[in-house]
Amino acid sequence: MALEDGGRVDFTRLRAERRQRLADAMASAGLDALVLGRSADVRYAAGARQLWRAGTAPFAPMCVVVAATGRVHLLSVWDEGVPPEITREQLYGLYWDPGNLMQALAAIPGLPEAALVGTDSLTPLFGQLLPAVVPSAEIVDAGPVVAAARSRKTPDEIACLTVAAALAEAGLAALELALAPGVTERQLVGVYHEAMSRLGTPAVPSDSVAFATPRRGPVHFLHLATERPVGIGEMVVLSPGALYAGYEAGLARTRVAGGSAPKGAGALAERAERAIEALVAACRPGSTGANLRRAWEATGEPMPPVPLAHGTGIGPEPPVIGWGRGDQAVLDEGNVLTVQAWVSAEGTGGHFERDLVLVTADGPEVLTRGRRTLR
């Protein structure tokens, strides 16, 4: 709820600064218009509260930014949830017939005349239909322009990410409270969702938030919760995320589910802590993805099946450092990264740590809080 003095995040300023960054990036690239379909890009440009859906959506023109007018146009049948600076004239409707949608786009002032138009993706269908709306335009990749705007966070964005971090930590507390031998991974997922909803934020980044690791046999990183009850003394990964105003934060800690910790759990925890701290330490201006990779390799740990790090803002963003990618990425002040370390030992289990890190002029600032302890 809003505070009567207008305190907490100044969303009007947040949106204005995002629009300015986008405008600056468009101007540098000579783009006359952006036609955006990716929900994160639409959120960044418009700042509207729109329905959360799981999974990907195919590209469709959901938002248009016109350089000449500085206006953001949005696919929204209603103005509820739409910020006041996007007037009703700047809204266009929902159509099932793509031809009708294209007609609506053609009515956007400044769009039909555009000579250089950036999109964040395309489908074969819209690849055919869009040129008719912008007949003299070259259609190019908006990716670099949008990334340039999004990758360094404003203070208001960092405030949103910090709120999301606090929410994720609340999710962690709920998971820890529910964690006990006999509870199933799916029950833990249910508890997490309940907690996030009670906080007023039912939409979550991912339901991949809990998995147990066995004390015997091969240990795998699991993404999907099962009906498997957590065993006594198993090491359990808890990795809740949260969304606030579209901004994502997540953390992961590993706890022992009742009973005594398995032999080697302490050593495994130390390995994970050492590995994540090496990654965090490499998160400074001028550092490259290769630096993070080498920091990991220096620990002697095998490459994990998940990335070492990725950009984070309105959800995950480039760079992805890991899976053989990201060496060329250069970190800058104001970047925010999700950093993570997975280690495992057959006969003990697995240990996963994840944190959200802000790159500042003085080095890394960890935005998420949570003790690295097995209990």
Binding site: M1, R53, G81, G93, D120, T123, S197, R198, H223, R325
Partner: protein, 412 residues
């Protein structure tokens, strides 16, 4: 009627509808349909980046994720004509079905990124060399730059015909998804009282769906308060109602009329719950509200009476309009009915801006699924909205959704 009897002897293509889906058989039959379409259309292969398409083509499971996360860390399916087993490139190896062998299971491609896109080019080139005719559902800019020499066409031409009519196992899967949704909603409705917040209902509902076996949640549950007059509801471009608007931490108050809408997924299949609830400790519809429900029921029953193989979507629309005294009983930006499958809204679409000639050409066939969601607006007293889901069978239709509309009257 027990859960097992849900199909009550109905058949689709002469085949009975099972009590529960046989997941392995379901995957095999979907893959065969995709192969048939590739053959029929002279295509060499299919590349799918979208989460519902990958689920359809492979049967792989992925966590339920926010779109930005789902988009960056995608699973990708590649289907090669002549090979019934799809290739799956995924970050979630524990979601791969058992019938995708190791040589068809690969590390993730990241089609959103330039960095590493050559891996995708190489991987695709090994399965479908440049020069091939390939249907694809999305072409990111990195893909366009790196995957050169292909004759691309839109994947909808392949997946559309496959998905529009469901196999018996798919229908059983939809029924199971819907049942989980409805059971969780019973608990959510029990939590509705004056002073509850929309997000409190989400808390009960979302915990319960996972306890009941949902694979993922599909949409942020909607508990929209409908003000009594059109003017008091949000402004819209077309002047018709705004629906659905996102959930907040808003308090629900005595007498609030709530139009509920939520969808969970079960083994890749969506569900769609729609009901009208009243906020009170012991809600009792007024006579006027009960009349709204009665009208809604009459509209749906009229559409269902016309619903059988060979009927057109236009006939359903006309029946619904006639039952509503000549006024269109659905919201302008929506439809009288939509399909549901691995997508929460898919073909067939009935009564949209695609127009009457589209509806006239849309002929119902066994296996099609229709979510009827007419809206009865009663200016001055809000209105009634619910959803009935049916599958078209060989002889008519069978219900996939339940028959309780509490606190309103029983189903016909």
């Amino acid at each position: 009627m027990t859960v097992d009897d849900w199909a009550a002897g109905a058949t689709v293509g002469g085949r009975p509808l099972p009590a529960a889906p046989d997941l392995a058989r379901m995957r095999v039959e979907r893959r065969r349909r995709l192969q048939h379409q590739l053959d029929a259309q002279g295509l060499d292969g299919l590349v799918l980046l979208g989460s519902s398409g990958v689920s359809y083509a492979t049967g792989a499971t992925a966590p339920g994720e926010d779109s930005p996360r789902a988009g960056l860390f995608r699973a990708v399916a590649v289907v090669v004509r002549g090979d019934e087993t799809p290739h799956l490139f995924t970050p979630f190896d524990d979601g791969a079905p058992p019938d995708v062998p190791a040589d068809h299971l690969h590390p993730p491609l990241l089609p959103e990124l330039d960095d590493g896109i050559e891996v995708m080019a190489t991987a695709l080139g090994e399965l479908l060399p440049p020069g091939c005719r390939v249907a694809v559902d999305e072409l990111t800019h990195p893909m366009k730059r790196a995957l050169t020499g292909y004759d691309w066409c839109d994947a909808a031409s392949v997946t559309g015909p496959c998905k529009v009519a469901k196999t018996p196992d798919e229908l059983a899967c939809l029924r199971a998804a819907q049942r989980i949704n409805e059971l969780a909603m019973q608990d959510a409705q029990a939590a509705l009282h004056p002073g509850a917040r929309q997000s409190d209902l989400s808390a009960v509902y979302l915990r319960r769906i996972f306890e009941l076996g949902a694979t993922t949640n599909g949409i942020d549950p909607i508990w929209q308060v409908m003000a009594p007059t059109r003017d008091a509801n949000p402004w819209t471009l077309h002047g018709d109602l705004a629906y659905p608007t996102p959930t907040t931490d808003r308090f629900l108050r005595e007498g609030d009329v709530i139009w509920v809408d939520a969808g969970i997924s079960f083994h890749g299949y969506a569900s769609d719950y729609g009901r009208t609830w009243l906020t009170a400790n012991r809600p009792v519809p007024t006579a006027r509200q009960q009349a709204q429900f009665t009208r809604w029921r009459a509209v749906v029953d009229a559409a269902l009476a016309a619903c059988r193989p060979g009927a057109t979507a236009l006939e359903l629309c006309r029946a619904a309009i006639a039952a509503n005294g000549g006024d269109r009983p659905w919201i302008e930006h929506f439809y009288l009915a939509h399909g549901v499958g691995t997508d929460s809204a898919e073909m067939p679409l009935v009564g949209t801006d695609l127009g009457e000639s589209f509806d006239e050409a849309l002929v119902l066939a066994p296996g099609m699924v229709l979510v009827f969601e007419p809206v009865i607006w009663d200016e001055g007293a809000a209105g009634y909205r619910s959803e009935d889901i049916v599958a078209v069978t060989d002889d008519g239709w069978v219900a996939l959704s339940g028959d309780r509309y509490d606190p309103f009257g029983l189903a016909a």
